[in-house]
């Protein structure tokens, strides 16, 4: 159950963030990442942000994933 997905923090309200995963928005708890800020890319596992990701690299991976998906759909 190591599955963790990268997403972009859109809003933070106390210890709860709204994270955008390529158009889908879900809540993530920030108990494990209190220093997270709006605009950060974070890895989310089981409803919690667990690590910040380098923005450039995260964006690159997301682009790669979209490329793979587009190829799979075509």
């Amino acid at each position: 159950m190591c599955v963790a997905v990268p997403g972009l923090i859109k809003t933070i309200n106390g210890t709860v963030a709204v994270v955008d995963f390529r158009g889908v928005q879900r809540q993530a708890m920030l108990d494990l990442l209190p220093e997270a800020q709006v605009g950060d890319f974070v890895l989310v596992h089981a409803g919690f942000a667990i690590q910040r990701m380098n923005a450039t690299e995260a964006a690159e991976v997301i682009a790669l994933l979209e490329e793979v998906e587009a190829a799979a759909d075509s």
Partner: protein, 355 residues
Amino acid sequence: MRAQVEAEQRYGRIAELVTRPLALMEVCGTHTMAISKAGLRSRVPRPLRLLSGPGCPVCVTPREQIDQAIAMAREPGVVVASFGDMLRVPGATSSLERERAAGARVQIVYSPVDALALAQDIPDQLVVFIGVGFETTSPTVAATLVRAAEAAVDNFYVLPAFKLVPPAMAALLAGGGARIDGFICPGHVTAIIGSAAYRPLCDQHHIPCVVTGFEVLDILDGVTMLLEQIATGRAAVEVQYRRAVTDAGNTTARALLERVFRVCDSSWRGIGTIPGSGLELAPEFERFDARRRIPVEVAPAPGFDRGCACGEVMRGLLLPPDCPLFGQACVPAHPVGPCMVSSEGACAAYHRYGG
């Protein structure tokens, strides 16, 4: 497509580096699945074997704990909350899914905070969260227990079944297992524990360790880094998954783990007891232990049904297709052992993607 071109380049480099029989082991169910899905095993040179270790926490949960969860689900006034992939794992005579079909209250949750919220919604019922997972997951449960304590929730409990990855890696090297020339270390566990966690193991056993991400290119890069270490006789801890992994890991998560849990010896289904490889609740949080609140008796039972080779598979001694039950008596529709049940089990991966 760019990704394909990049993958081909890496396969080429790997082919150059494999000059003798070698075995690399991953210890993460997500790696097991990603490698199977990408068809990596058949695309690397034959002398290179990519083994799956005990990286599926559902697969290594002892049968007795499954039976404890089942017994608790049968108690009136109890709702069992669990991650989805636990539901079909066979206990001695039943599974949580079968119990649910028979009328027990078993709720699938995506997050432990969902189980806590459920408890807060039904204060006259006891909610037991089945705490299965490695170091990616246990901090989320630690944080949830802190929230439960702060909100003075008195009907939320955890059945602690958490396990730790580095001690299992050490046990695999200690003897009686498959020969391992390098470890593909789990990306998200290491995001929590930090890559420094593998240094003692690496130094003691002179074994290359590369913390690797989960995309195909990540895995190919991780394998390449391991092969390059092996080719030059080096053994170091390196990080391929730089975008998410640091040396120290997530210090907030680690502090929470230390506050809420204590390290204990733990039994791994199919392997046996591994010292210092599990987590139990620390004294400050003992009142949340489901076993104290809902004591249940479970009969001892053998770890696996006769013929089931999950134990050997999880130690890299057998490949799933070598199990006598694989693909016939044991398939995802009617699984015999945990490795076929879990979405991250080696047998499920081989069955679905062909190895």
